[in-house]
């Protein structure tokens, strides 16, 4: 897990600087949410379980294979292949329309139940997304249908500039499980072991037909919301510094070192591997070809006559083969 957490941070930093160089568009860094993302996905079985991320997690979903990062690089580059995670990778692309993915997760989990597949669906969403009607409708539906879904609220304290105190007056995000008749748990989202534990337990419930669980993983956004954001405008002085004390890359490393499971060499190797991973992803993604007429691909299984005409006209206008 440590290696993947390091990879996530390094990949995030790399994309950040690529954005600064104007090579990609806006990007949401993962700083502070590595333990939540990695600890939870390490509790899953990629052969049967699914992950539906929001938009930060894809940087650290190595549990499901290296393609996830490759595709995320393509996504950041605005290449349509970035949204395509090849079968059988059980991972959805990043979701921008917040909280909609939580309902997709319930439907997907429902299909597993109907088809008798002993898997679970883990869906990530932020503290902010929990305010959308879709989150509540999803939780309520999962309670009624008793489907194998794990709702993971990655509470990083902020929704862009909106603090959790403006997001809800509930005792906690986990407390919202009361509204659905499912268990709700709060866990230290900076501790991958703790996250791994609660998600494993939730997965056991899920695959044994006991239904859904809501998990609130309390972490902190150690960086800006995105490359377009300036947190100094709104984050109270000192809050970030205090949170940095809990940086999972520091604390988990200390834990492992204390138990003799980690050292400077391992750290160096992990950092090299992380750099290599994002290098490969970047190289793969930048090498992807793209015809502009591909614009019409994959809207429907087969284009309508009107789309075919538009494509022909476009090809003629661009002076390319259709």
């Amino acid at each position: 897990m440590m290696c993947e957490m390091i990879k996530g941070r390094i990949a995030s930093d790399r994309l950040w600087s690529l954005q600064r160089q104007g090579q990609i568009g806006t990007i949401a860094p993962i700083d502070g949410q590595e333990a939540t993302t990695v600890g939870s996905t390490w509790a899953l079985d990629p052969a049967v379980d699914w992950v539906i991320p929001q938009y930060r997690e894809s940087l650290a979903l190595g549990r499901f294979g290296p393609d996830v990062l490759d595709r995320f690089a393509a996504w950041a580059l605005g290449h349509p292949e970035g949204g395509h995670l090849p079968d059988p990778i059980r991972v959805f692309p990043p979701q921008i329309s917040l909280a909609t993915q939580i309902l997709h997760a319930v439907g997907l989990a429902w299909s597993l139940k109907l088809r008798g597949i002993a898997g679970a669906v883990l869906v990530f969403f932020g503290d902010g997304s929990s305010s959308e009607g879709d989150f509540y409708e999803a939780g309520n539906l999962a309670g009624v249908l008793e489907v194998p879904v794990i709702f993971l609220c990655s509470n990083n304290g902020w929704a862009i500039s909106t603090p959790t105190s403006r997001q809800t007056a509930a005792a906690s995000f986990a407390a919202k499980a009361e509204a659905f008749g499912i268990p709700g748990v709060t866990v230290d989202g900076m501790d991958p072991i703790a996250v791994h534990e609660v998600v494993s337990a939730a997965r056991d419930r899920a695959v044994t037909g006991k239904g859904a669980t809501l998990i609130e993983a309390v972490n902190y956004r150690l960086n800006a919301h995105t490359t377009a954001d300036d947190p100094t405008r709104y984050v109270p002085a000192g809050e970030l510094e205090a949170a940095k004390e809990r940086d999972p890359l520091v604390t988990f490393r200390r834990q492992l070192e204390a138990r003799g499971l980690w050292d400077r060499d391992r750290q160096a190797d992990a950092e090299r591997a992380g750099a290599a991973a994002i290098d490969n992803a970047w190289n793969w993604a930048t090498a992807l070809p793209l015809e502009q007429t591909a614009l019409f691909d994959h809207v429907f299984a087969a284009p309508t006559q009107r789309q075919r005409r538009q494509r022909t006209d476009l090809a003629a206008y661009l002076g390319v083969e259709r």
Binding site: G107, L141, D297, A301
Partner: protein, 342 residues
């Protein structure tokens, strides 16, 4: 009320059983669920009660509670779950109890279902058929009668299907359920029991994008869809008595659109009236007129005319009959159009 077989391209023959549109829909759901066990029906009140219009009656008994499901009262949940089910390999046939309540789920319909194949660049297809009643004339409360084709057709990635006969309800619903892409299947409230006709036995599919001549005529072309085809036929019959041969082209599907037959009709008749129940501004009739301008402008002998609702919300019962186009208004528009001299 269904077009005289002779003048119609509807392959149903009088030998076929006569059914109401709602029973044709019910039969088709039954047949498709029997044929493909991935097909699921769910929505508000579709299982235990068989649907507020009885369209899903008997399905629960036949296919069980895993495949015929009463959902909590939440449209976004119904369509959002449909997307997840589709990604998981099922063939969802959700019902939105009335089209006006699809607004509650527009972020899942327009923002997700319509784009899922595109945003995953082909990995996940959405073979979803959203059945939903719409259209006026039956004195419903707010938002039960609104016609939203103008909005739905502007959402790339959705197919919009609008049967006008019992036979087409079967043929197009069969096609919709087997189509690998999301289809909004619009069922006219007035048509459920108000439209009766012969329905072919056994498997019957009507391809998308092929309009149908509900009745032929060379003086003028009336373009309509869904229940307004019935209304247009009434107008055509009354016009026939006055010696005016009005053809009624039933579009059957708005997306994809049968541009060929529209163009052929304009070239042949030169005069067109487009009928819709919706708010005219930004409505689908405008799209048809723009399409005619693009492909058959020089054949126009007079400006194409719209017979629509008005630029107001769908009104209350006492104003409804004025709002919704009727045969007299269509006839009136046709006669005025025929007066126009180039």
């Amino acid at each position: 009320m269904s077009p005289e077989p002779a003048r119609s391209t509807n392959p149903a023959s009088t030998a076929d059983p006569t059914m109401t549109m709602v029973s044709a829909i019910n039969d088709t759901l039954r047949a498709e669920m029997a044929r493909d066990e991935r097909v699921m029906v769910f929505g508000e009140d579709v299982a235990l009660s068989g649907g507020v219009f009885r369209a899903t009656e008997g399905l629960l008994e036949q296919f069980g509670e895993d495949r015929v499901v009463d959902m909590p009262l939440a449209e976004a949940a119904i369509l959002g779950a449909a997307a997840g089910l589709a990604a998981g390999g099922m063939v969802p046939v959700p019902e939105i109890q009335f089209l006006g309540f699809s607004y509650q789920a527009m972020h899942q319909l327009a923002g997700q279902i319509a784009r899922f194949r595109y945003r995953t660049w082909g990995r996940f297809e959405m073979p979803i058929t959203i059945r939903t009643p719409f259209g006026g004339g039956v004195r419903t409360p707010e938002l039960h009668s609104d016609s939203l084709e103008g909005q739905l057709t502007n959402i790339a990635g959705l197919k919009v299907v609008t049967p006008a006969t019992a036979a087409d309800a079967k043929g197009l619903l069969t096609e919709a359920i087997r189509d690998p892409d999301p289809v909004v299947f619009l069922e006219p409230l007035r048509g459920y029991r108000g439209v009766k006709g012969p329905v072919p036995r056994g498997e019957y599919r009507v391809p998308f994008g092929k309009a149908r001549w509900a009745t032929a005529g060379n003086d003028v072309t009336i373009i309509a869809w869904s229940y307004q085809v019935e209304v247009a036929l009434r107008a055509a019959r009354s016009l026939a008595e006055q010696g005016v041969e009005a053809g009624v082209l039933d579009l059957r599907t708005l997306v994809p659109l049968d541009v060929e037959q529209i163009v052929e009709a304009v070239e042949r008749t030169g005069r067109v009236v487009v009928v819709e129940e919706a708010v005219p501004t930004g409505g689908f009739a405008a799209e048809i007129i723009a399409t005619i301008n693009e492909h058959a402008f020089w054949s126009l002998e007079a400006p194409p005319v719209r017979v629509s609702g008005y630029d107001t919300p769908y009104p209350v019962g006492q104003l409804e009959d004025t709002y919704v186009p009727d045969a007299r208004r269509i006839e009136h528009a046709v006669l005025a159009l025929l007066e126009v001299q180039p």
